[in-house]
Symmetry: C2
Subunit: 157 residues, 2 copies
Amino acid sequence: MSSNAELKKAGLKTTLPRLKILSMLESTNIRHMTAEDVYKSLLDSGEEIGLATVYRVLTQFENAGLVIRHNFEGGRSVFELNDEGHHDHLVCMECGEVFEFYDKAIEERQRKVAEESGFVLDNHSLYMYGVCEGMRNNGKCSINKKKLSSVLNTSKR
Amino acid sequence: MSSNAELKKAGLKTTLPRLKILSMLESTNIRHMTAEDVYKSLLDSGEEIGLATVYRVLTQFENAGLVIRHNFEGGRSVFELNDEGHHDHLVCMECGEVFEFYDKAIEERQRKVAEESGFVLDNHSLYMYGVCEGMRNNGKCSINKKKLSSVLNTSKR
DNA sequence: ACGTTAGTGACAATTATTAGCAATAAACAA
DNA sequence: TTGTTTATTGCTAATAATTGTCACTAACGT
């Protein structure tokens, strides 16, 4: 489906900034980006879109279900295209790499727990933090270093 | 164990602010508080401790393992005394109430997933968001309204 | 093409949190 | 105890991320 059609389906007027942001998210190979990452990435490809607009559009996309917002450790929001089905995340605290996984048993138990507690679930997030194999073995990760800034904590706490 | 002894064990010099904060956390019936909640709670009981100190001390407590920091939806950090064992959280998005639970099966699957991915786990967080029974049935929650401000999103997004 | 209305860009404002630094209070030895 | 050393505190200013404001502009329906 074209980005244009996706916007329509999401109930959003198709404007240039929205199209640019959506198609960038769809074509990049970096799955998890902060608003600023998105902003800079667009700048790099010559698109001048205001940072405030990026924030606004990402929030609209979130409400429309086009992207998912994550709050990994460190506070700032990280966005991911909502294209595949639901999945959880393993974050490497050394290199910032994010592995995605889906575990049926976990999902089922979650549903069960919510039900038993009388909750009607809206959504949930499972984040696991650790150190990946590459970083443990030879201190280098196979993945694009660009990922680093986005996901890892920026403060030096 | 006295708060004093706990601080010692954690390798922290026993100072008045640290004692006040720790014993407040131990005696309050509000398990999840932001730094500002802690600050205000102390003010209410007549203790004048600077907000910056509260932030610093909470971070020290986190590093020492005395408290756990959570990043629920909405961005700001929420702190909880690390007295019971590990548990996960169910957050009601209407009233802000937080239910805690522990599910052995989920924990085991998590360990398994990490292992299979070559990760050495440091910690993990599972947050489930929904609407609790009370809020669904009669729009009122059994719990102290004071919890509201702490946990719920402050922005009106 | 034209007007209406929603969307955008630039920048100011807010919010949460951290940094800097002079004043103070713990710890510990004399 | 008292003095001395060094970590800690309390202000206040600074920063970082995000949102609000508002005049200008671009979509969409006619």
